[in-house]
């Protein structure tokens, strides 16, 4: 599920994003998932209906790659090792492949909620006619 984040606000302001970039880079590396060959979307919390549905909507190839990366990471984790440096996730590989689907599903759910909460008013033309 998408958590609240300052990222969009920062990215919108060029001077601010330039200022934050080195810190962000350091933080992502320090988080350690890239050393296990994972992407940021692989460690998205999946214990909820929205992400479960998003996972079902992944294209077959993406789903396969995801489970490969997760298995490899588990293997590394239990053997207390990191991947060789050339297999670490590179900056350009770390794309939000799941986040976009999650956002789409959240938009669908929000639309449903909005429609449920809708207040129906009569059209002016019909009101005048009395039906």
């Amino acid at each position: 599920m998408s958590a609240p984040s300052f990222a969009p606000a920062i990215l919108k302001r060029q001077w601010l994003s330039k200022w934050f970039a080195p810190f962000a880079k350091w933080y992502v590396n320090a988080a350690g998932y890239r050393q296990l060959g994972l992407r940021a979307d692989d460690i998205l919390s999946e214990e909820n209906d929205v992400v479960q549905l998003a996972l079902k909507r992944l294209p077959a190839k993406e789903a396969y790659d995801r489970s490969y990366r997760l298995r490899r990471a588990f293997q590394c984790s239990v053997s207390h090792q990191l991947l060789p440096k050339e297999e670490w996730t590179k900056d350009e590989e770390d794309t939000p492949y799941l986040q976009s689907i999650v956002e789409q599903i959240e938009a669908e759910m929000k639309e449903r909620e909005d429609l449920e909460a809708m207040i129906v008013t009569k059209r002016a033309a019909h009101k005048a006619e009395g039906h």
Partner: protein, 459 residues
């Protein structure tokens, strides 16, 4: 003395009367603008027809030349029908449903052998909204993978299972396949899982939609809409449709050819037999033979009156009252099929199949009384008129007529043609049935159901 409550009631009633009046725009006796005839026209390359029937509701249909006959791959037409009214570039599935519910309307999408129909029934004032909606569905649908997997695929699968469980449906489809092979013979539902596991995917369906909803392949037909108003809105919204089809439907556009033959399918759920002969094309087509409709109602099988077998030959000669017999004259744009469907217990179905052949021989031999032929002619005319008058059937027939020959289906002409059928014509039609190859399909207990040759038919 006037009590307060009664005064109030009178006031309420007068308000009600005022409210009803605008809905009834015309008195009962006054004709609507013209008659039952359709007025047709063209707006920005899209053909349309309308008849301005009096009444507060209207029906609008987008008829597309994309039925199972024209599908380049199996199951495409069905899948495209199930994809209708789903997510578009402007609106989501849910929004389309909720909005149409709020306007008090009914949306439907279905396919027949020749046509794919998107239909909306609504209150007269909402015409612009629904013209826009149909145009949007036809040109801006999003063919998303998850919609296919979550919503469309289960529906195709259910249709497949329903098809397999119904011997009658199987027999009718099998008879069509025998009669026309490809094209009109294509099954209307998947007979195995192969079409949707091996041929269909969202991008293929999207490609087909670009052909199916291209301007030359569609017609907009409305009941209860003003011609000028419809022209205006069709011109405004339907311009988004592709001007030319993505690929030409070359194979299916050829003249249908009748083949004939026999097929036997074992089935445990029931027994059905279809005996089919070449029939007549629709009235808007080139091979219209009104005597086939009269012959169909003479053979018949159904009763028009309760608690009586009716006047039809098969209604009287069927093996038992529980055996269901029905003769249909299916008319397509360039060919037709006259077929008798028999369902029931295997032994009765076998006996009734023999009765069908005997009946045709009797008609060909001229052993039918004048009175019976007169009854059959009247029944055929009534059936045709009643069918054409039904708004839905009229919409599809008119749309198909417009797409194929720029001619709407006019009931009055059809009725005249049926009236002119002579006794001799019926006799000759029956004779020609016995001379051509029949299409015979038996589904069910094959131990009991007879072969076509044993019935005395040529296959």
């Amino acid at each position: 003395m006037l009590s307060r409550s009664s005064a109030c009631r009178g006031a309420a009633r007068s308000v009600c009367q005022k409210a009803v009046r605008p809905a009834q725009r015309r008195g009962l006796a006054a004709p609507a603008s013209g008659s039952f005839l359709y007025q047709n026209g063209e707006a920005k390359g899209v053909k349309f027809a309308s008849r301005d029937l009096a009444g507060p509701t209207a029906t609008l249909a987008l008829v597309s030349k994309a039925g199972s006959r024209y599908q380049p791959l199996p199951g495409l037409s069905e899948a495209l029908a199930f994809y209708a009214f789903r997510n578009t570039e402007k609106r989501s599935t849910l929004r389309i449903i909720r909005e149409s519910e709020l306007l008090g309307s009914e949306l439907k999408a279905f396919h027949t052998r020749e046509n794919l129909v998107l239909e909306a029934k609504f209150l007269r004032d909402d015409l612009p909204y629904f013209v826009e909606l149909l145009a949007e569905v036809a040109s801006k649908s999003k063919f998303e993978h998850h919609t296919y997997n979550e919503e469309v695929l289960p529906l195709i699968h259910f249709a497949h299972q329903r098809f397999l469980a119904d011997p009658k449906d199987m027999a009718i489809n099998s008879a069509h396949a025998l009669a026309f092979h490809k094209g009109l013979g294509n099954a209307t539902a998947s007979s195995s899982t192969i079409p949707y596991t091996q041929y269909l995917n969202p991008s293929v369906i999207e490609g087909f939609s670009k052909t199916a909803f291209a301007k030359p392949n569609v017609a907009v037909v409305a009941n209860g809409a003003d011609q000028a108003e419809l022209q205006r809105w069709v011109g405004e919204f339907f311009d988004t449709l592709p001007a030319q089809p993505l690929e030409e439907m070359s194979v299916a556009s050829e003249q249908s050819k009748y083949h004939g033959g026999e097929e036997r399918i074992a089935h445990a759920r029931g027994n059905a037999m279809v005996i089919a002969f070449p029939g007549s094309s629709s009235a808007t087509g080139k091979f219209y033979k009104p005597e086939i409709a009269v012959l169909g109602s003479l053979l018949g099988g159904d009763s028009a009156i309760k608690w009586s077998p009716g006047f039809t030959i098969l209604g009287n000669t069927k093996a038992s009252p529980s055996t269901k017999v029905h003769t249909t004259s299916s008319m397509y744009s360039d060919a037709g099929l006259l077929y008798t469907t028999i369902t029931g217990e295997a032994r009765n179905v076998a006996a009734t199949a023999q009765a069908v052949v005997d009946a045709i021989k009797k008609i060909a031999g001229g052993e039918i009384s004048k009175e019976q032929i007169h009854k059959a002619r009247a029944a055929a005319k009534f059936k045709e008129l009643e069918y054409g008058q039904q708004i839905e059937a009229g919409l599809e027939l008119t749309g198909a007529g417009l797409i194929h020959g720029s001619k709407p289906y006019q009931i009055d002409e059809v009725a005249k043609a049926i009236d002119g059928v002579s006794e001799e014509a019926i006799k000759n039609a029956a004779k020609s049935l016995l001379e051509t190859r029949a299409s015979v399909s038996a589904v069910g207990d094959l131990w009991v159901l007879p072969y076509a040759e044993d019935l005395g038919l040529k296959v």
